[in-house]
């Protein structure tokens, strides 16, 4: 089933009209917002050193834009080193649930100017509003320290962005931003949310998925190593034995 953009637009406008007619007091929720990516697939190939994906879109009426990119969730263990008999050893630890493997955000103006904290909190926009909760029983103070350490570590490896990236408006209606994916980008399905905000309220949201997957030789090797690990091990040994033998023959005289 396919809609032409034109048809879609007509249907969309009709919906907007109906909704704004029925809810005259509320701000029009479904404000026209169109978004797309330059690429819906980030392919990690053998030569992959990171890439940028262009996100672009248009709004019908002026407003502010916030973009969030969230990788698949996973559980994370955070460990703290303490000095023990002169050396630094991992001692205490905590597990966090639902930690995104990747998180980045972007906005056209500083987020705190665009919307107040409660709105950002409700929609879980920005790193500070991610609700990853420690499942380990630890004090409030520790929880905060571990949480900050988790964010800091993820920022250090480039998987959480340090500060929101910039969204630039080309006119009052067209906007664009680059989403950066570093070389160590985890694979999986990413969710990109684009929020249109007007007068401090979310006027419209668009969600679009992005798939990060390994392709080519490196993907096949990884897949093979996990699916047929015994065979992989045997092959690794055989490769080593053969190359060792070839080397000894090749350099026998030399």
């Amino acid at each position: 089933m396919s809609f032409s953009p034109h048809m879609f637009r007509i249907a969309f406008m009709a919906a907007v009209t109906v909704i704004s007619a029925t809810l005259p007091l509320k701000n029009s929720w479904a404000d026209a917002l169109v978004v797309d990516l330059s690429n819906h697939l980030v392919a990690i190939t053998t030569g992959f050193t990171g890439t940028d994906v262009l996100l672009f879109g248009a709004v019908q009426n002026e407003g502010d834009i916030i973009v969030t990119v969230r990788g698949p969730d996973q559980d994370m263990v955070v460990r703290r080193k303490e000095r023990t008999v002169g050396i630094w050893v991992n001692r205490e630890s905590a597990t966090f649930k639902n930690v995104p493997t990747y998180y980045a955000s972007a906005s056209n103006r500083p987020m705190d100017i665009i919307a107040n904290d409660n709105v950002l909190k409700d929609y879980r926009i920005g790193l500070e509003h991610q609700r990853f909760i420690a499942t380990t029983d630890i004090t409030e103070v520790d929880q905060k320290a571990y949480r900050e350490a988790l964010v800091r570590n993820m920022q250090n490896v480039g998987l959480f962005n340090q500060r929101p990236a910039k969204i630039s408006f080309l006119s009052n209606q067209l906007f664009r931003t680059d989403i950066h994916f570093p070389a160590n980008t985890p694979t999986g399905t990413y969710m990109i949310n684009v929020y249109l905000i007007r007068d401090g309220r979310i006027a419209s949201v668009k969600t679009t998925p992005l798939v990060v997957s390994k392709t080519g030789v490196s993907a096949e090797v990884y897949d093979f190593a996990h699916r047929y690990s015994a065979l992989y091990g045997i092959i690794a040994v055989i490769i080593a034995v053969i190359s060792g033998w070839v080397a000894s023959v090749a350099f026998r005289k030399g």
Partner: protein, 307 residues
């Protein structure tokens, strides 16, 4: 030029890894050592995850041992029976080692244990080498120096042990328990440190077992092949941390480097070589010790998974 390593899941500079393999290969050709004890720490310093470094180094050592063993085999310098007994111990030891490795990894202590093992062993070996070599350099050389070993027919506690076996090639009649235990211990080191363990095996064979020096290197290489092969296989199954792409790059660099090293080495005096190797081993040891003792800039570390 960057290449994405499929198992390590990071992008590395292909020439840097080739150079690393080449450099260590050069040194192993120069000094006649396996080089696993240098490869693994250097990979970790470069940023390869320790687990991947250890498992991949084991895979690479399979190749370097195979290429080394042929020359010894042709000259009859492999005590097959002794090698097999050591190997039985080694297979058990490395299997236990891989299991301990996985267990320590889940506890978050594997990096620490790898570092500690390196500091202890490199410290002892490097210190002894440097001490012995500098004595040889500064003192007048004693006649008929060479390595002193236990006399064959001297009786000690070792001869009281049960399960005696005759090792014709080494001219020994000793308990099989001793080589089994040595093999077991070195096998564990292979799994935990990503080394062949020749630097422990060779002195143990000479001083503890009393094997003739002529068959020591060949026999050690022979059993290292199978123990490292076992580690490669088990790590592949248990932790999926063997990176064939990384191993192949190290291998190519290593083979070429070793040829140059061997040629260059023949121009240097043996005690100078040993002193240099001692210094090198000690500096790797100090760097690792330094990292353990100095307060890290980041006290927290993260790892995917559950407690």
């Amino acid at each position: 030029m960057q290449i994405y390593l499929p198992i390590a899941e990071i992008s590395v500079n292909i020439f840097l890894i080739l150079g690393l393999g080449g450099g260590v290969g050069f040194l192993s050709g120069l000094f006649g050592v396996g080089g696993g004890f240098l490869i693994t720490p250097l990979l970790i310093f470069y940023g390869i995850p320790p687990a991947v470094s250890v498992a991949t180094a084991a895979n690479q050592i399979v190749a370097s041992s195979v290429s080394g063993v042929f020359a010894h085999w042709r000259r009859g310098n492999v005590d097959l029976k002794m090698g097999l007994v050591l190997l039985v111990g080694g297979i058990f030891g490395s299997t236990v080692g891989v299991w301990v490795f996985a267990w320590l990894r889940s506890l978050g202590q594997i990096d620490l244990v790898i570092s500690l093992c390196y500091v202890i062993f490199l410290g002892i070996i490097g210190g002894m080498m440097l001490f012995e070599a500098s004595r040889a350099i500064f003192r007048t050389r004693r006649k008929g120096g060479g390595i002193r070993r236990r006399k064959k027919h001297q009786h000690s506690y070792i001869h009281g042990l049960p399960f005696k076996m005759r090792f014709y090639r080494s001219g020994l009649y000793i308990s099989a328990l001793l080589p089994l235990v040595i093999g077991f211990f070195v096998g564990m080191l292979t799994a935990l440190m990503g080394v062949g363990g020749g630097f422990v095996m060779v002195p143990a064979m000479i001083y503890l077992l009393g094997m003739p020096t002529g068959v020591v290197i060949g026999t050690s290489l022979f059993q290292i092949i199978f123990v490292t092969a076992n580690v490669t296989f088990l790590q592949s199954i248990q932790t999926q941390t063997v990176d064939v792409a990384l191993a192949t790059l190290l291998l190519i660099g290593g083979v070429i480097g070793a040829q140059f090293g061997a040629r260059f080495g023949s121009r240097l005096k043996a005690e100078h070589l040993r002193a240099l190797l001692g210094l090198l081993v000690l500096s790797v040891c100090l760097k690792l010790l330094f990292d353990l003792v100095i307060e890290p800039s980041e006290l927290y570390s993260i790892m995917p998974g559950n407690l």
